[in-house]
Symmetry: C2
Subunit: 429 residues, 2 copies
């Protein structure tokens, strides 16, 4: 058995994305992802997936070169490699990432977002080489399936006319009735029993009405609302008060640890986050101040599946809950999320996933939700297979793009419909 | 490859221990350890080692029964098994463990101390089955050797006459000159360059003089002093002030988080601990209060090598250092400590080990220190081999014991020399 890495292939792609609304704008018709393939001397190929925007590609290329000759089992060494790759300071704002609502941007976080793609690919290859599923490489599953939540969005029926886009059959959802109809379809199709609404799109009263409508349509089902930090502390507390009886948690109502801490101090509704705490460096202050009660991990930017387990350990130690965040992703990442989630003992909330919104994938067979759950594969590695023809087609789309869609920009997508739109200042309400 | 556990063997043993002094008394002539063997359906045998006192044996036996039919790769599942094993409440004082100065006693900690023996045995078996060293199962080594510190003790030349005991050739060390001579021998024999003195034995001024003598004999070498919580806050601050210029850290000067926090607030000398923080449950308060600057992990009671890595992640997140504690142990545990230490990126202090004090072992070949370091084995599993004849002999000693030495009791050992001795109340000084 030779675990030496002899080839690394990076394939940026553009995948169809419906016109989902958030506080910064709307999803572009196509969103960039990066598919990573790591091949060993024995010809075993492992696959990984991460963000595909230019700033990630810039880092991934020199990173990939440094992997040649290393072992796919040397997972701790990936962080050493990451440290050796220079990050263009111009890419780092130190501010909240405007492309995807995923918290602060730092050089380390950018590196970790790239590490995760390689880590998953290495784990997949290692599992295949050893004949063990990825969950076994993480110490073994403690559950056979992982529960996911329906991820509801305000959305348009279609992307603005003019630009190329794939059609979707979900229809519009711009009011409480539309949100409930979307939720019902999610429940009927996939069996989800908990619902998360992406908020921050309409004035809080409208979103309160939507959540209230969900509560009436699905009594007793866990509900969440996530305005991506669009609210002031005062507004956050108002929403918490009005929806306290039906919310499982409120996600990132306000931006930053001081505001989140102020909200937490004024309500019993737990606060979840994928914006306030998105790096290990942000944990100390947030936990000490009691600013968050649930951290929504995203293995992409936390640095992989093993770092996600470490994050879960930190949360467990401090009595903070843990669950999973999602940005637009494909089946490789859903498989990776499912493997790691299956190994985390105290996962008390259904995980988020955009996957049902993605009509395209690079796998030979899509993953499926049954009763809102994804079964953990016991096949070697991740248990997924790359469809090279599909990959080629989505890569062709990336090659053909003139550059406008290679970097996710929800505000730019919004300007197509509303010229003059800019990312709203926060707090927006 | 069949990783199913088909046999688990538990062998309690008594190993020779020199008359090393601490604040509670003196090491008994023999100390109990438990050797664990886990065998798979393919006949692969993994070995582990943990505490061997009766309370651990009581738990290990039902635990072992439940392992039959499980996979050696199911490491997360070991904690589930642990939860199923009932702990005799009479064994749990909730107070500091008097048998070994290793912090609070809780049911969970007792369970974790047993888990660790099985976890190491499973990792050893899994590594052998896969052809991978244990460090690779932990994500890969980030260094090729691990630095250890010389563990200096005040000691008698021999155990009290009358009872059976093995002789040692270290001689007595009961004053600064004796401590320096011992340190010199450690340095000459094993190449250690940092020195830890177990204190709490003599009045603080005598121990200050001993550390001062070490500083003069070995200028620039990192020095540590560990009175096992024997001092008041006031005394701790006095020692910190007098030795601040030569101490790498002060270990457990006072007992409990409030006292440690008070000491930490009054000195720049970092405080290390294996008594204040010995469970995940103690971390939150201690870290929030800044009570400790270095946690000395002990994989035995933290629940194994993977938990040790999680502890290191928690420490890293909170800017607290991490290194390794040691109780009397044999080569299996030294190998385990070395594997995990090799994978922890931010290990900034030499680890503790009693190993040089142990003249007996159960391995075919002893591990060695070169320039104060143990080389990390790249052989499959831990890279050690059990000597069954040696194991049989030490087990025979355990069988022949009338029960007086089967539970470590440093105060009882002291009473042999000083009738009427009881464990001193703390603070002792």
């Amino acid at each position: 058995m030779n675990l030496t890495i002899t080839d690394v292939r990076l394939t940026p792609i553009l995948v169809a994305d419906p016109p989902l609304l958030n506080t910064q704008g709307v999803h572009q018709p196509y969103t960039p992802r990066l598919i990573v393939e790591v091949e060993t001397a024995d010809g075993v190929v492992g696959v990984g997936e991460t963000y595909g925007d230019t700033k990630y590609l810039e880092l991934a290329r020199p990173f990939a070169e440094r992997l040649h000759g290393r072992q796919v089992s040397d997972l701790n060494g990936l962080f050493t490699v990451a440290d050796e790759v220079a990050v263009d300071a111009a890419r780092i704002s130190g501010q909240v990432d405007v492309g995807g609502l995923r918290g602060v941007q730092t050089a380390d976080k950018l590196r970790l977002s790239v590490v995760s793609g390689f880590e998953v690919a290495c784990l997949d290859a290692l599992g295949k080489a050893l004949g063990l599923p990825v969950h076994t490489l993480l110490g073994g599953k403690v559950r056979d399936s992982v529960e996911f939540s329906a991820y509801l969005f305000y959305k348009w029926a279609a992307h603005p006319a003019g630009a190329p886009a794939e059609a979707d059959d979900w229809g519009a959802a711009l009011d409480p009735a539309g949100v409930v109809a979307q939720a019902r379809r999610f429940k009927d199709r996939y069996g989800f029993t908990s619902f998360k609404l992406k908020g921050g799109v309409f004035p809080p009263d409208e979103e309160i009405a939507a959540v209230r409508a969900l509560a009436e349509a699905f009594p007793g089902h866990p509900l969440r609302l996530d305005p991506n930090g669009a609210w002031s502390v005062e507004t956050s507390l108002k929403v918490a008060k009005e929806l306290g009886d039906v919310l499982e948690y409120l996600e990132d109502p306000a931006l930053g640890t001081p505001a989140m801490a102020a909200v937490a101090a004024g309500t019993d509704v737990p606060l979840a986050t994928n914006m306030c705490v998105t790096t290990f460096g942000e944990i100390r202050e947030a936990f000490t101040r009691g600013a968050v009660q649930v951290v929504l991990s995203d293995h992409h930017y936390w640095g992989g599946l093993r770092n996600t387990r470490e994050l879960a350990a930190v949360c467990r130690t401090f009595g903070v809950g843990v669950s999973m965040h999602s940005n637009t992703h494909l089946g490789i990442s859903l498989a990776a999320m499912t493997h790691v989630a299956a190994t985390v003992p105290d996962l008390h909330h259904a995980c988020d996933s955009h996957y049902p919104w993605q009509s395209e994938d690079v796998l030979t067979e899509r993953l499926t939700f049954d009763a809102g759950r994804v079964t953990v594969s016991d096949k070697p590695g991740l248990g997924v297979e790359l469809d090279h023809e599909r990959l080629r087609r989505l890569h062709r789309r990336w090659l053909d793009d003139d550059g406008t869609l290679r970097d996710r920009d929800d505000a730019a997508a919004m300007r197509v419909a509303e010229p003059g739109w800019t990312t709203p200042a926060v707090p927006r309400w």
